[in-house]
């Protein structure tokens, strides 16, 4: 049943992704601004502009250009960047690991931060410790991620030089080292919502009849928290995390910018500003696939955590 659901969702991914590229393709062509002028700079004479448009097929009607894009796509080719004049797939693939590690690392760190704090807050509900944790999470919600990132760089890059000040590093451990602060920035942004959701669910679960029954049976507090509390409370938290990751896919650009990370977000912004249509299309396609897969993973996790959920 689950496998059939996953298969169906994976098949649906194709028309959704194509639909997204269709919307983006036509909307970016509707926005005024020509890549020829940006590429050629101030010496863009009419002849040079016409030659550039001819060379890149930009003088064709937009639907025809989209048809060529689809044709190339079904042959496994994302096209060529107008500016870098090299393969879009190559450009995107070299940057994809940066963005993915930012998303995955950020999500993991947010879980690592949120779970223990939510547990303490729920168990100590109403106490001063609970108040402090809730206040801190509210403060985290109110801080913009670019400010958090810059503050972390100043503290952990300059005052206490424990981590590099931006960049992706070299080698596996170099990447881990370089990605810690960006991931922490994401975690600080996401974890308050996760924490609050988990805390509320945990308080509900810990006050439920079946937990009272388990306590009456003499089950210890740790087992109750881990076996009954988290498993049930996690259902809502997984949805919160999944939705946040979905939003983050398009929002990584801020973090990438602050930490000078060569990820997809940064490439997407410069390509939109330059009207480098093939790159915008390629990244949109990748982003839509990542979002769809994230939501699919969220649904599957939801079903695995709660057998009552039928997919």
């Amino acid at each position: 049943m689950l496998l059939r659901y996953v298969g169906r969702r994976l098949l649906l991914m194709f028309p959704v992704a194509i639909g997204v590229t269709l919307l983006v393709f036509f909307s970016i062509h509707m926005v005024p601004g020509s890549p020829a002028y940006t590429f050629l700079g101030p010496h863009a004479t009419k002849t040079a502009v016409a030659a550039f448009n001819q060379e890149w097929g930009l003088n064709r009607p937009v639907p025809v250009q989209y048809w060529f894009f689809l044709d190339r796509l079904f042959h496994g080719d994302l096209g060529e960047s107008l500016f870098y004049q090299s393969s879009v797939a190559q450009l995107v693939l070299t940057r994809l690991p940066v963005t993915l590690s930012l998303l995955v690392g950020g999500a993991l760190l947010s879980v690592v931060i949120a779970i223990p704090l939510a547990a303490i807050s729920a168990v100590k509900s109403g106490t001063i410790i609970d108040q402090i944790i809730r206040f801190a999470s509210t403060a985290g919600l109110g801080m913009p991620s670019f400010w958090i990132g810059t503050t972390l760089i100043i503290i952990f890059g300059l005052v206490f030089p424990l981590f590099p000040v931006g960049g992706y590093g070299t080698g596996f451990w170099g990447h881990v080292d370089a990605m810690f602060l960006p991931c922490l920035t994401i975690a600080i942004s996401i974890s308050p919502q996760l924490l609050r959701s988990l805390r509320t669910s945990l308080i509900d679960v810990l006050g439920s009849d079946y937990v009272a029954f388990a306590r009456a049976k003499g089950t210890n507090a740790r087992t109750i928290l881990l076996k009954y509390g988290f498993r049930n409370a996690a259902i809502a938290a997984v949805s919160v995390l999944g939705i946040n990751i979905g939003f983050l896919v398009g929002g990584t650009v801020v973090i990438e910018n602050v930490f000078a990370l060569p990820g997809l977000g940064q490439l997407m912004i410069t390509s939109i500003l330059d009207r480098d249509f093939p790159i915008v299309q390629g990244i949109t396609l990748i982003f839509s696939v990542v979002v769809i897969l994230t939501y699919l993973a969220t649904d599957v996790t939801y079903a695995l955590l709660d057998p009552r959920v039928r997919l």
């Binding site: 101030p42 940057r95 890059g157 300059l158 060569p262 410069t270």
Partner: protein, 531 residues
């Protein structure tokens, strides 16, 4: 050349600058010990090390004939060298791949004698065939941005291994300077036997550095050219050009020592950086002039009195203070003092509201009019200048509406002359005045076809003088003509000349001999790092 797209960086920088500069300043003061610990200027040269150079954007292409953004141009100049190069003050030319030249009595035939013993980074000897191939490439395609520079070249021949003869269609005074343009940098004939596509993956030049890796959109890693022709140079093992769009991150990387040069720190950071320990903040004289351009297709701007009134009504000092935090100078001419054709005595319009009102009264629109000023939506500098202009033209009865558009659209509208007023700027790529004059002053269908930088200004006297200067050889005679042009442009301005903007660089005190030329490029073969 045009400065690259950092609209996002500009937006974020504008938001972040005050907060983060204050925070970073607090951190910086922690290790400041009072007087700046500058390393002695004449310390013994140390070899080795890789210099990390942070810039707002990455390069677009390694092919110098295909680029118009400065990030690409200045990086490409570390790899390829043309026949001549500008002196560091931008006033003269010195030999590079050529050692000397002679020109025929009719000024049509130029014979360049090439430097012997120059090898490309692959060890192959540079010869006249390479020079011919490279110069011919510049205008090989209609879409090449630098075709106009070599437009007067009629033919190129190579009578010997170390001689190149260029015949021009007319006596062409700027030719030697044109041969110093980066786009005319020398690459091996026929791409050293490779296809163009393969060649540009790992291009070969005669410059002090060669490409190790290029992660497109992120980092260009250059390493020392082992065959470089200048004995003992370069001193550095390599230069890494890293794209760091955020102003604050560049500054923090410089402070932490993970980068040694920060290109174009935010103007708001310049004063603070000047007094920061371990950092040198330099403002290098540049060829950058900022204008307010009037499109003469709009009826109001056909009237010279309106253009003069607006020019007189703008308080340039206030703009320099608001936009550059005082780190620029008020302009009196289209040309900056860094270039040899600058005329100090040019009576360019200056802030004088009484005179502005008088000019307006003499115009066909004494009661004013409504107009639009094009500004980039993410460009904080233009938005600030726009607001100042808006308030300063109000006393003349000119109601200015800011027309905010995104960067790419702004470029398209500017280059297509689809604006009423717009902020424009110039920098030059060669030290000869011809590039700027034909771009920003010549009207009609002048050499570059830009109609006086898209303003549609067309003054026959200016056009005639600019053309005349292209064909006169004693430099003193040319200077007199350019002085005349500047005088006419002051009396009949196509634009309001606002200010001269220096090139701002913050760099570690460990960096020595770093110098930026008025054309914006730098010579890393002379730079060294102290331990």
């Amino acid at each position: 050349m045009r400065f690259n797209r950092s609209t996002f960086a500009l937006v974020s920088a504008a938001i972040l600058t005050l907060t983060t500069t204050a925070m970073a300043g607090a951190v910086g003061s922690g290790h400041a010990t009072g007087a700046k610990a500058k390393v002695a200027a004449h310390a013994a040269i140390q070899r080795g090390g890789t210099l990390v150079f942070d810039r707002g954007a990455d390069i677009i292409s390694l092919d110098p004939t295909q680029v118009s953004d400065n990030e690409s141009i200045w990086a490409d100049e570390c790899i390829f060298e043309p026949l001549y190069q500008a002196t560091s003050n931008g006033k003269a030319l010195i030999p590079d791949m050529a050692t000397s030249y002679t020109v025929s009595s009719n000024h049509l035939v130029w014979t360049f004698n090439l430097r012997h013993g120059v090898d490309f980074s692959n060890g192959q000897e540079m010869t006249s065939a390479d020079v011919k191939f490279s110069v011919m490439r510049v205008a090989a395609k209609a879409s090449n941005p630098w075709t106009f520079i070599n437009a007067d070249i009629k033919s190129i021949t190579t009578p010997s291994k170390f001689q190149v003869v260029i015949t021009t269609k007319t006596p062409w005074a700027p030719l030697q300077a044109d041969m110093a343009l980066f786009a005319n940098g020398v690459i091996p004939n026929n791409y050293a036997g490779e296809t163009a596509a393969v060649f540009w993956q790992h291009p070969i030049g005669t410059g002090p550095f060669m490409v190790k890796t290029w992660q497109k959109g992120n980092e260009l890693e250059l390493v020392k050219n082992p065959h470089y022709w200048q004995p003992g140079k370069p001193y550095l093992n390599g230069v890494n050009f890293v794209s760091v769009p955020d102003d604050n991150t560049r500054l923090l990387q410089l402070e932490s020592g993970s980068a040694q040069i920060d290109e174009f720190p935010a103007w708001s950071q310049v004063s603070e950086l000047s007094s920061k320990a371990g950092i040198t903040m330099s403002l290098f004289p540049s060829s950058w002039t900022q204008f307010l351009g009037f499109n003469e297709q709009i009826k109001y701007y056909k009237d010279v009195h309106v253009r003069l009134a607006i020019s007189d009504a703008i308080d340039r000092a206030a703009i320099v203070k608001a936009v550059l935090y005082g780190h620029g100078t008020v302009a009196n001419s289209q040309v900056t003092p860094a270039l040899w054709d600058y005329d100090k005595s040019t009576p360019g319009a200056q802030y004088n509201l009484t005179k502005a009102k008088k000019e307006m009264a003499e115009s066909a629109y004494p009661n004013g009019f409504s107009t639009k000023l094009l500004v980039g939506s993410g460009n904080q500098n233009e938005l600030t200048m726009g607001q100042i202009v808006q308030s300063e033209l109000a006393p003349l009865g000119i109601k200015v509406t800011l027309q905010e558009v995104n960067g790419a659209q702004e470029t398209t509208l500017q280059d297509g002359s689809q604006f009423q007023m717009s902020f424009l700027y110039d920098t030059t790529d060669i030290i000869d005045p011809d590039e700027l004059m034909t771009f920003a002053a010549a009207g009609g269908s002048g050499a570059q076809g830009t109609h006086a930088e898209f303003t549609n200004y067309d003054n026959p006297q200016v056009n005639k003088l600019i053309t005349e200067a292209e064909h006169i050889f004693p430099i003193a005679s040319r200077k007199k003509i350019y002085d005349q042009v500047q005088l006419i442009l002051a009396q009949d301005p196509p634009m309001a000349y606002l200010f001269y903007q220096p090139f701002a660089y913050a760099y570690s005190n460990k960096v020595h001999n770093f110098n930026v030329y008025p054309t914006g490029n730098y010579h890393f073969e002379n730079v060294w790092l102290s331990k």
